[in-house]
């Protein structure tokens, strides 16, 4: 709250948020479709948008090339208000068998397997986090918008070699606009309680 205090007048904030929304949107467009994702190595990840993850997990390979459904791994998102994150077991389900085709992939998958064997969960860097006074029931939104609705907030991760924030999920305007377009509830206590 003191942060809030220091930030000062809200005009500034809202303007800033607007700007952020814009920039992020067009960078998403700029994302080169041509680049062969597989060409990237963990070393490149520093250069990519978004925070560097302990394991260079490639959404663009899993969701993009392999066309895996989001809910294959993030299954709780469809049944619960909380998305949770895939358990290590979920990863190992495939990666017991799949070792990766090139050296870089193998290296990264090896990290996963070591973590699994040591029983130490991988600590991913969090990218999206909704403010603590907001309730965002994932299941409701997937129910209403279909299984591929994830992109509307999380961006098209199928094209991201490394996931970054596309929408500022804490910008209430972003939520409201969507609710207005679809003419669904705008009652405060739908999200704030």
């Amino acid at each position: 709250m003191h942060k809030r205090f220091l930030i000062g007048l809200g005009m500034v904030t809202s303007v800033a948020l607007g700007a952020l929304a814009l920039t992020s949107r067009d960078t998403d467009a700029q994302q080169p479709a041509a680049t062969l994702p597989a060409a990237l190595t963990a070393a490149d990840s520093a250069a990519l948008k978004g925070p560097k993850q302990p394991i260079f997990f490639r959404h663009d390979i899993h969701a993009g090339q392999l066309k895996m459904e989001c809910q294959y791994c993030h299954y709780t998102a469809a049944v619960s208000t909380e998305p949770g994150i895939p358990s290590m077991q979920t990863c190992m389900g495939c990666h017991l068998a799949v070792a990766g085709k090139d050296s870089t992939n193998r290296a990264e998958i090896q990290k996963l397997r070591t973590a699994w064997n040591e029983g130490t969960p991988v600590e991913w860097v969090r990218i999206h986090s909704v403010a603590r006074h907001v309730r965002f029931p994932h299941s409701q939104h997937i129910k209403a918008l279909g299984p591929n609705a994830c992109a509307s907030c999380h961006g098209n991760v199928a094209r991201m070699s490394q996931v970054y924030q596309v929408q500022n999920v804490n910008n209430m305007g972003f939520c409201i606009n969507c609710h207005i377009e679809r003419n669904v509830t705008r009652d405060c206590t739908a999200c704030h309680y």
Binding site: V79, M88, P121, W124, R132, D187, C188, T189
Partner: protein, 1004 residues
């Protein structure tokens, strides 16, 4: 929410790792902050029962008192966040009292001991390893031979059998003891029926209830079951209700729920009981009539000083009612004549033919050895006959009077072991502390009564690394070797428990075990076997009980609804939840009748010194019309010298005035005379109430049975009783108001407000069922992350209780009998809410579904809403309560579904909007409409007497609609035209109508 079998501990450890990650705001202590959790830690293996964001419910058993109610532990992401009653459990059938719910704060208590402690030379404690601790205990036991003794406060259970078995193996003795053990009753039963077990009392069918100091709504017996029964019989339904008379020197909560209070002096209750027995015997033509003939109204009147006519009336009413019920044996009547009293009450029940009707032997609990036995054990310690003493789930050095010098006797024991997991008085005096796991962290069971075997299972990783005492004992057995090792060879207590449960298992064991765990135990109907009277039992000639000292006042220590025998004193919820009678929090106090106070020239808050032959204590005065002028009352349970940050040095211990003497196997609580000396000291009484009188404002309406039976409204009843009153609003005004209101509703429709499809939430409260027990208040604290603010803030009236029990006194002055009226007051969610238009930022606003919404993150804190709220149900975060209220690990209890409010924000009852939204989401996912009763706010869920109902007022089938249409229904402060969504159903009393004074109902 389906009951689940517990998964492996290993997995649950993983759950704890994701604390604060899943469940946005899980441990958010700054309601409006957007600070992010930096890391996402996945489960290694995700338990199929554990979906983040979806609560998992485990069945378990409450250990906060001897009753053993079944609980449902609601867990989120591997943390227990709330305790609710287990609907399948026969004892409490889904409800849970304040003490039970606060068990969560024993689990997460910040003062829990995290490792075995050994007393060092300096008298301090050193942390040692479990191996070391077990080795030390085994060594000492090895040397002790048969000079081993154990005090076991844990009731009948597989564990207790293990403990007794092991101590027995070594040739030692185990004494099972709980402070409020009802020894006097079992002695009396021995005398009258030749058996010492306690019957189960069925309040539900009784038509006339007489209680002799038995606080059956507070601490005496299975209070949840009794409250349920009491509500069923004494609550008003289809024109009838049972009548309840309370006999005793002080009107406690149970007495306040009586239709009549007979304020007889301590020790003379027995004569009233005998009178009832005689009347019943004569009316029912029982053979006892002869022996009892001498107990005429005149005789009893002479002995008790109560008007003979009144006694006759009550006796005849009791005799006429079938079935009736008389109960005795509470602490408040535990004087040296307590056995005679219970004896007489047994006679009354027999004479009235209540055995098998309302009194059922064979269904009640079996008594523990009790005070006499434990006192005997201390005598042996005194003589140095005990080398090793193990104290489990008991705190004798607090709960037994200091005058007995038990401290010194205990010190004479060579090696003292305590299994307390917080540093209590006994643990502090011990040489070795082996912190036991909390009931929610361990495998255990409890046989609270015949046929009822309840299970406990670990629902989460231990908050503090501890070890189940059962496991400790088994390890010790191995260490001891020899026959002990052979007889107690199970690898773990869990294994032993399962082995024990194979006996009487039906079908294949894994399924039986799984279903039993899911249900919370095995509940079989027990058959009642009612005894007959021992010959000559009717010839009872009670002598007046003796009192220590000859001072002026009888000292009446009574069990506190919240602190119970003292174990509640370290739980902020129980300390902050006001005592329903006095509204005092965080303190102990001395209760004086105003007349007495006038004589002694003391005022409220002034500190007096009470002196008895056994000691002296100082406490501040509280003036109370509900106590005899010759009696001074004081709640038990405070005055701890240890027991953690919340309890230590708080209040005084009433036991310090008592003698430890015992002739009859129980501690005579009401057996001391005290003298009072005024001291110059003053301490503000931390009351949460302003004015205890409703000043004729008709806030809590009450009507006599006759009128209610005729289907009158409170207003009509008031007029029928000759009350002079005028319409709240004359017809023309009423017309205008209604027209205006219709216009409002049109306005809402325009604003996409409340079209006919959207529900409109409403609540109804039946005041004829509400007993004021305050379980709803604790439930609200637990469900809605309400901070406790502490004594200092309560001096300023800054308590945050979204829901409060308002208690108003009627009468009491100039001879009129004192009466209490209780009503739970929560946000009324007014249609025409005054708080909404005055908020400059729409933080308070009306939701389409008729809630009075409060958006914390929008609130700037002008506080106008609270000024303009006629019910004063809005609470404001004056300071950073969110940082002070939940010291680690208490914060783990926070409900992730509810935002924790930050400093500077207004908050209030939301009708548990998180439950409403949750149910709506669930229904939508399952493509079905909401069912009535699917949404139950925390208060209504907890209510032991089911006095509240909640639902959609637009759904004609809804229960809340039927309740709201009841002629007794009214809304508070109607003249303000705020249109509350909460309907109160007027309290009904089984009393003759009294013509009101004209000034009453001035509020109308």
């Amino acid at each position: 929410m389906a009951d689940q079998q517990a998964a492996d501990d290993v997995d649950r450890r993983q759950f704890l790792k994701v604390l604060g990650v899943t469940g946005v705001g899980t441990a958010a202590l700054t309601g409006c902050s957007t600070d992010r959790v930096a890391k996402l830690v996945p489960y290694m293996v995700q338990d199929e029962n554990q979906v983040p964001g979806i609560p998992t419910v485990y069945a378990s058993t409450c250990t906060e008192c001897a009753t053993g109610c079944g609980v449902h532990v609601i867990t989120r992401e591997g943390r227990a966040i709330k305790l609710e009653g287990n609907p399948e459990h026969p004892v409490n059938a889904g409800t849970l009292c304040s003490r039970g719910q606060a068990g969560l704060q024993a689990l997460y208590n910040p003062d829990r001991i995290g490792a075995p402690l050994a007393k060092n030379a300096a008298g301090g404690f050193d942390e040692i390893t479990w191996e070391d601790a077990i080795a030390r205990l085994a060594a000492r036991l090895g040397q002790a031979g048969n000079r081993v003794a154990a005090i076991n406060g844990y009731g009948p259970s597989t564990f207790s059998q293990l403990l007794e078995g092991m101590v027995g193996q070594l040739g030692g003795t185990t004494v099972s003891w709980q402070p409020f053990a009802r020894e006097a009753e079992s002695r009396a039963n021995q005398r009258t029926f030749g058996r010492d077990d306690l019957p189960a009392y069925d309040f539900g069918v009784a038509r006339y209830i007489v209680s002799f100091g038995a606080d059956f709504l507070e601490t005496w017996g299975p209070t949840m079951e009794q409250s349920r029964g009491f509500a069923a019989s004494h609550g008003f339904n289809d024109g009838t209700m049972a009548r309840h008379v309370y006999v005793g020197p002080r009107m406690n909560l149970t007495g306040a729920n009586a239709d009549e209070w007979l304020d007889v002096a301590a020790g003379s209750e027995v004569f009233v009981a005998l009178l009832l027995a005689r009347a019943a015997a004569e009316a029912k033509g029982s053979p006892l009539a002869g022996d009892l003939a001498r107990w005429t109204a005149a005789e009893v009147s002479a002995r008790t000083g109560i008007d003979a006519a009144r006694l006759t009336r009550i006796a005849n009413e009791f005799a006429a009612a079938t079935p009736s019920l008389a109960v005795a044996g509470g602490i408040a009547a535990q004087h040296r004549g307590a056995i005679d009293l219970c004896h007489a009450v047994n006679l009354a029940n027999v004479a009235a033919g209540n055995l098998g009707q309302t009194v059922n032997f064979g269904l009640g609990s079996t008594p523990t050895a009790g005070y006499g036995a434990v006192q005997g054990l201390f005598a042996r310690m005194e003589r140095g006959e005990v080398a090793v003493a193990i104290v489990h789930e008991a705190n004798p050095l607090y709960a037994m009077p200091k005058s007995g010098n038990f401290q010194a006797s205990f010190a004479k024991v060579g090696f003292k072991v305590s299994t307390a997991n917080v540093m209590d008085e006994t643990a502090a005096a011990s040489d070795l502390i082996l912190p036991n796991l909390h009931a929610l962290e361990r495998w255990d069971d409890s046989f609270s009564r015949p046929g009822v075997r309840s299970l406990m299972q670990p629902v989460m990783t231990p908050v503090r690394p501890g070890m189940h005492t059962g496991d400790v004992l088994l390890k010790v057995a191995q260490a001891l070797g020899g026959s002990a090792a052979a007889n107690f060879a199970e690898p773990s207590f869990e294994a032993r428990l399962q082995a024990a449960w194979t006996v009487g298992a039906t079908g294949d064991f894994p399924t039986f075990w799984r279903t039993s765990l899911a249900r919370g135990g095995v509940f079989l109907p027990a058959v009642s076997s009612n005894p007959t009277l021992v010959d000559g039992a009717a010839a009872l000639d009670p002598a007046a009980p003796a009192f220590d000292g000859d001072a002026e006042f009888t000292f009446l220590p009574y069990p506190s609804l919240m602190y119970h025998d003292g174990r509640g004193a370290n739980k902020p919820w129980l300390l902050e939840n006001p005592d329903p009678m006095t509204k005092i929090t965080w303190q102990s106090w001395a209760e004086l009748h105003p007349e007495t106070a006038r004589r002694l020239d003391v005022r409220e808050g002034e500190i007096i010194e009470l002196t008895s032959p056994h000691g002296a204590i100082r406490a501040q005065v509280y003036l109370f019309h509900g106590i005899r002028e010759d009696t001074i009352g004081m709640p038990l349970g405070l005055g701890h010298t240890e027991y953690g940050r919340y309890a230590k040095d708080r209040g005084v211990n009433a036991l310090d005035l008592l003698g430890a003497a015992d002739g009859q196997g129980y501690l005579p609580y009401v057996a001391t005379k005290v003298s009072v000396t005024k001291t110059p000291g003053y301490r503000k009484v931390a009351k949460t109430e302003g004015n205890p009188r409703q000043l004729g404002r008709g806030i809590i309406e009450q009507m006599p049975l006759v009128y209610a039976a005729q289907g009158m409204t409170p207003e009509q009843a008031y007029k029928a009783a000759g009350g002079e009153t005028h319409e709240i609003n004359p017809p023309r005004e009423r017309e205008a108001i209604d027209g205006w209101y219709e216009a409002q509703k049109e306005g809402w429709k325009l604003g996409n407000y409340a079209d006919d499809a959207t529900p409109k939430w409403a609540m109804a409260v039946d005041l004829s069922r509400c007993t004021g027990c305050s379980a709803c208040v604790t439930a609200c604290y637990a469900e809605n992350n309400i901070p406790t603010v502490g004594e200092e803030q309560i001096f300023k009236g800054r308590e945050m209780s979204w829901m409060r029990i308002e208690r108003y006194w009627e009468g009491g002055e100039d001879g009129a009998p004192i009466e209490a009226r209780f009503a739970p007051i929560m946000c009324q969610h007014c249609d025409n809410a005054p708080c909404e238009p005055v908020c400059p930022v729409y933080a308070a606003y009306h939701t389409p579904d008729g809630l009075n919404g409060q958006v914390y993150n929008r609130c700037v804190g002008t506080r106008y809403c609270s000024n303009n709220c006629p019910f004063k149900v809005r609470y404001y975060n004056w300071l950073k309560y969110n940082e002070s209220a939940w010291p680690e690990p208490l914060n783990l209890q926070l409900n992730p579904e509810v935002t924790v409010r930050a400093r500077g924000v207004m908050e209030k009852c939301t009708f548990c909007v998180q439950r409403i939204r949750g149910a709506q989401h669930k229904a939508r996912l399952e493509d079905r409409p909401l069912k009535d009763g699917e949404i139950v706010p925390a208060c209504a869920q907890a209510c032991p007497s089911k006095a509240m109902t909640f639902g959609n007022i637009k759904d004609p089938e809804a229960k809340v609609v039927q309740w709201s249409r009841d002629p007794r229904g009214y809304t508070m402060l109607e003249l303000t035209n705020v249109r509350p969504a909460v309907t109160y159903l007027a309290k009904v009393v089984a009393q003759e109508p009294v013509v009101h004074a004209a000034d009453e109902h001035g509020g109308h």
